[in-house]
Amino acid sequence: LPAKFDWRDEGVLAPVQNQQACGSCWAFSVVEAIQAAHARAGSPLEQLSVQQVLDCSFRNQGCSGGSTVWALSWLNQTRVKLVPQSEYPYKAKTGICHFFSQSHGGVALKDFAAHDFSGQEEAMMGQLVSCGPLAVTVDAISWQDYLGGIIQHHCSSQHANHAILLIGYDTTGDIPYWILQNTWGTKWGNEGYAYVKIGGNICGKYDPCWFIYM
């Protein structure tokens, strides 16, 4: 494994988004992972519709919350194509599901896998490098006050409550850390990103973790 790796250097990530006052992190996490997988497969990077997942993933509750694995299962079972963000823009509130015909252009999920990586950091690094950015859930309760730097304390590994995208890691310094892309805008954290110490399952970052195949 390389000592450091960052998917931002590979041109497969859209800029940091802002979910605004809507509990849509689960939808952003899934859509951003699919966008990255699609770009890695050779297509131009295209922002896909988070609002489509928010409105149409029926087992979830839109802005009131949801599950990344349910959203992925829904995409996998229905073969719904995610349309471009420009065609189904984000409104930060739950709306009525808009349907598109199968002939309409879009990106469909081929398969996905969900894993618990507790205690297997190197394996997770390997998956990150070989499979692309990973949709993960974390305990983000202390992130309300976060300004930047490497998070080393103040979050449990037991209460995952926020979905984000794991995009890289850096083990070259004194404190090895993961790089996470959040959806709270660029004014939060390190211009929208959080760094979390590698080791000890801080923030429950790999408990569990999903990665996506296209």
């Binding site: 509990g23 689960w26 969900a114 507790s118 297997q120 300004l147 730097g149 409550n161 569990p208 973790c209």
Partner: protein, 71 residues
């Protein structure tokens, strides 16, 4: 544009955020350690923050085995 009652409530939450940040910053810090302080969420109560932004379910998944999937 806030009325007095709402302003006072937000002010209290803001003061709570300052206390929380002081606590979080009080732990022995290694170089490049996280810093906590005032940001766009500082006038929200803990419950408001949780209700608005921490809405992902924690699902169970099988431990990673390292085996390659077929197909």
């Amino acid at each position: 544009e806030l009325n007095t009652e709402e302003f006072n409530r937000r002010h209290l939450y803001f003061q709570d955020a300052i206390k929380r940040a002081a606590y979080l910053n009080s732990f022995p810090a290694a170089p490049h350690s996280a810093k906590y302080g005032i940001n766009q969420f500082s006038d929200l109560s803990l419950n408001e923050f949780r209700d608005l932004y921490l809405r992902a379910s924690a699902d169970k998944a099988p431990p990673y085995s390292g085996e390659k999937r077929e197909g």
